[in-house]
Assembly symmetry: C2
Homo-oligomer: 359 residues x 2
C-alpha cells in the first residue's frame, strides 16, 4: 500500500488552481463568502476527491477553537451517567457537534487535579455531569480561562448555566403518588454527602408539607457517612450495603414505614435487596420508589417504580444551550446565572409500589 501522505490545503489549492486563501474561505463558509460559485464548485470537488479536511492543530493554533465539547463525568460505572453520556452523544450528533468524554484523574482533592490545561484548551466548552466532591475548583478555573460550561444533572444548587431535572418536582410526584396509594408513613433515604443530593432533604420535607403529612425524623435516613468517591474500592458499599442496612433498620423500628422513597434507583434497588433478605416483600409489605429511571430499574426484579429523568430532552437542551453560549460573545456573570433550564420529570409505574396493607 502506498505510503499515506497527508494532504494539505496547499495540495488542494494547487490542484484546483487557486490560492490557499480561497480554499480556506470556501471551507469555513461564513454564510455567503464572496466566492464565485464556479470556483467554489471546483474547490469543493477537489476537496471531496482528496477527502481533505483541515489539520485540526493548525486551525486551532490560529483560531483558538476546536469545535469540540468536553464532557466531564465523574463516574461511568453506574447506570445513570453512562446513559446520560450516550444521550448527550446522540444529541451532539443530531446537532452536528463533536463530543469527547474526559474522566477525573482521582477522587481526592476535589476534581481539580483532573483538570489539566491541556484539556482546557482542547475544548471549546464543557458539560459538567452530575456532581463529584465538588465542581467549585473546576468552575473557578473555567472562569479564569473564560471557557463556557453548562452543568448537567448536577443539582439545582449549581451556580452558572445549568440544565437539570426538576428535583423538587420529582420528589413531589413521588410523594404524591405514594400518598394517593394510601401511604402515610413514608421514609426517605438519601446521601447528603453527595453534592447532587445536598438539598434533597429540604425538597422531601417540602413535598410532605404540601400534602400536610408530618415529618418524622426517624424516617429520614441520611447515608452521609460515605463521600462520593467512585474510584475507591469501597465506594460500592455506599450504594449497596449501606442502603440495605438502612432499610432493614427502618423496618425493625418501632413504627416502620409503609413506603420508602429513595433518592436514586441504585439506593432503591439496594433497599429492596436488604428487605428481601429479611423476608420483607416488595411491594406487598412495603413499597419502594426510586428516582432517575436508571437502567437498573428495568433490570431488577421486581421492576422499579421510579421518577424518570427525560434524558433525551436534557441532553439536547444541554448541547443546544452550550452551543448558544458559545455563539454569543461573552455574556457577563449575571446573565450566565440566569440561564437555567429545568426539565420536568415524570412518574413511571412499574412493580415496586402498591397500596399499604390493611393494618
Amino acid at each position: 500500500m502506498a505510503k499515506h501522505k497527508k494532504v494539505t490545503i496547499n495540495d488542494i489549492a494547487r490542484e484546483a488552481g487557486v490560492s490557499i486563501g480561497l480554499v480556506s474561505r470556501v471551507l469555513n463558509d461564513d454564510d455567503s463568502a464572496r466566492v464565485s460559485p464556479e470556483t467554489r464548485q471546483r474547490i469543493l470537488k477537489v476537496v471531496e476527491k482528496r477527502s481533505y479536511s483541515a489539520n485540526l492543530f493548525a486551525a486551532a493554533l490560529r483560531t483558538e477553537r476546536t469545535g469540540i465539547i468536553g464532557v466531564l463525568s465523574p463516574n461511568l460505572s453506574g447506570t445513570f451517567l453512562g446513559s446520560l453520556t450516550m444521550a448527550l452523544q446522540r444529541a451532539a450528533v443530531g446537532q452536528g457537534v463533536e463530543l469527547l468524554v474526559a474522566l477525573p484523574k482521582s477522587d481526592s482533592q476535589g476534581i481539580a487535579s483532573q483538570f489539566e490545561w491541556m484539556q482546557a484548551m482542547l475544548f471549546d466548552g464543557f458539560l459538567l455531569l452530575s456532581n463529584v466532591l465538588d465542581y467549585q475548583d473546576t468552575i473557578r478555573k473555567l472562569q479564569i480561562i473564560e471557557k463556557p460550561y453548562v452543568s448537567v444533572c448536577a443539582g439545582l444548587h449549581m451556580q452558572g448555566p445549568l440544565v437539570n431535572s426538576d428535583d423538587v418536582l420529582a420528589l413531589q410526584i413521588a410523594t404524591d403518588y405514594l400518598y394517593e396509594l394510601g401511604h402515610q408513613r413514608i421514609a426517605f433515604l438519601y446521601n447528603s454527602n453527595w453534592p447532587l443530593e445536598r438539598n434533597y432533604n429540604d425538597y422531601f420535607l417540602h413535598a410532605l408539607d404540601a400534602r400536610q403529612l408530618p415529618a418524622r425524623p426517624e424516617l429520614l435516613i441520611d447515608i452521609h457517612d460515605a463521600p462520593y468517591t467512585p474510584q475507591s474500592p469501597h465506594f460500592q458499599d455506599t450504594w449497596t450495603i449501606t442502603p440495605a442496612k438502612a432499610a432493614q433498620g427502618l423496618m425493625r423500628g418501632p413504627n416502620p414505614p409503609t413506603a420508602i422513597l429513595c433518592s436514586n434507583d441504585g439506593f432503591a434497588v439496594a433497599c429492596i435487596k436488604g428487605l428481601m433478605r429479611m423476608g420483607v416483600r416488595v411491594p406487598e409489605d412495603v413499597s419502594v420508589i426510586g428516582y432517575n429511571n436508571e437502567l437498573i430499574s428495568t433490570l431488577f426484579y421486581p421492576e422499579l417504580t421510579t421518577i424518570r429523568q427525560p434524558l433525551e430532552e436534557i441532553a439536547s437542551t444541554s448541547i443546544g444551550l452550550l452551543r448558544s453560549i458559545l455563539g454569543e460573545e461573552k455574556l457577563d456573570r449575571s446573565e450566565m446565572a440566569a440561564i437555567r433550564r429545568i426539565i420536568p420529570p415524570e412518574l413511571v409505574e412499574r412493580e415496586s409500589c402498591a397500596p399499604p396493607r390493611a393494618r
Copy 2:
C-alpha cells in the same frame, strides 16, 4: 480579576534570560539533554512559577503527536463497558497517560462513520473496546493512517494487537463449576450476532467436551435475532425481554436444564427475572451463572455467581501494551498480529448457583 493572558514559551525564555530553544529542550528532556544543571533549574523555576505548559496545538503541529490515547467505546449505558473505561482511566493515570473517550456517531454502517479524521489525528493511539457491529472499517482506516491500536475485550477473534479475557477458559471454568456441583443438563444462552460472542458457541461446546458431557442442541440458545445497536430504543429488549423469554421456553421444554450458563451478566439477570416470573426459583430450582462480573451482578437479588474479568489487570495491560507499541517504531503486520495478551478470568461464587435438586 486580571484578564488571563496566555503564557507562551517566549515569556518563559525572556523571564529566565535564555532562548526558547533551551526552554523547549529542558521541558522535553530527552534523558540528559545537554543543558547546564544551573540554567535548567532556572528555567524550571520560571516554568513552575508561571505554571506554564506548552500549547498543545503548536506542539502537535510540529511533532504530530499529542500524547493522548483515544478510547473508542460503542456503548456506555450498560454495566460493563463503563466499568472497563473507568479501570482504563485509573491505569492511564497510574502510567501518566492522557485518555479521552469517543463514542460512535451511530449504529448503522458499522462504526465507520464515527471515525472522523479529526479524531484520527487527535490521538496517538486507540483502544478499541468491546465490539460493535464491526471494527473492520475502523481498523482498516487506522492501518492506512498508521495509527496504532489495541483491541480490548473485543473478542479473541480480533486481528491485530489485543488484550482479552480468556473467554475459552471462562466458559470452561463456568461449565466445570456447574458440573462439579452435579449438573449434567447445562443450557447455554448467548447472542452470535454480537461480534464479541461470535465464537462463544464453539467455546462452550469445547467446555462440554472436556467434561465428556453431550451437547444437546435444544439447550443451546442463540438470541441472534437482534444485532448490537445500543443506540436503538429497542436495543434493551435484546438483553432483557428476549433472554427472559428464552429462559422460560427452556424450562417449559420436555427436558429442562438444571443450570443455565449465560454469555454475560446482563443475560443472566434477565434470565433469572424471567424464571422468577414463572415461579421458578434460583438457585433452588435451577442454577444460573453469568460472565464478566458486571456491576449488575452484585446489585441483583439473588447476587449472581459469575466469572470475573480482571478489569484492573486488563486495563493496565492495555495501556502498557499500547504505550510500548507507540514507543517502538512501526512494527510490521506480522509482528502486530503476534501481540496477544490473554488474561485468565476467575470464578466468583455468589448466590445463583447450587447443586441440582434430587429428582
